[in-house]
């Protein structure tokens, strides 16, 4: 599924728009950067509450195309600047990691 369509369907707030070509086929839910680094290499989307400069760096290394920040956490400007440089889309949602995961999972399965 296209990331833009997913974000629209899930009613995520767009902080940094992703490219149309960014298809999401899998997701990984984690708040531990070391865990993302070690285990998220097959995922296109990261579901997390870590809105941190290092999150972007780790996501980039793991080949993640988009990050959705849960619980309406604040995303610092420098994090967005890094994401732009790494061409990673950033969204924000009021729902928590569980609810977001369930919503994404349903879209991927349908």
């Amino acid at each position: 599924m296209n990331i833009k369509d997913m974000a629209r369907t899930c009613q995520w707030e767009t902080l940094l728009e992703g490219a149309d070509a960014n298809a999401i086929t899998s997701a990984y839910t984690s708040d531990l950067l070391s865990d993302v680094m070690a285990n998220a290499h097959d995922a296109d989307l990261l579901i997390t509450i870590q809105a941190h400069n290092n999150t972007v760096a780790v996501a980039s290394l793991a080949g993640i195309k988009a990050i959705v920040v849960c619980n309406d956490r604040t995303v610092p400007d420098d994090t967005l600047a890094s994401a732009q440089k790494e061409q990673i889309a950033v969204y924000r949602t009021q729902t928590n990691q569980f609810e977001t995961s369930c919503a994404v999972g349903k879209l991927l399965q349908s």
Binding site: A27, Y28, T29, S30, S101, C102, V104
Partner: protein, 117 residues
Amino acid sequence: MTFANLIPTLDATVFVSSSEMETRPVQHVIASDLMSDVLVAHLDDFVLVTSLASDQMIRTADLVGATGVILVNDKRPPASLIQLAKDLSIPLLGTALTKFAACLAIGKALEDKGDPA
């Protein structure tokens, strides 16, 4: 749905069981690795799904009154953590699923039992 119902759902290993896990309801899920995040959640009757296998994670679960804890990514809890969970009567399961997949499975089970996620 009870915590014990999640064992087949997640094809889980039972590290620590408790008598309450057959009866206490599960209505919500908190899927987090940041204990500070767990501490701000305003939910009751929830299970904690995490990849953090530390003593602090079990203490946090106890302090916020979690029904039980599910360790994802096939993490093996250290003996000290199992002992602490026993001491605090917190049931502890382990699953090979990722946190994302575990959330989907639990979400579906909650829906099937008539408790929308």
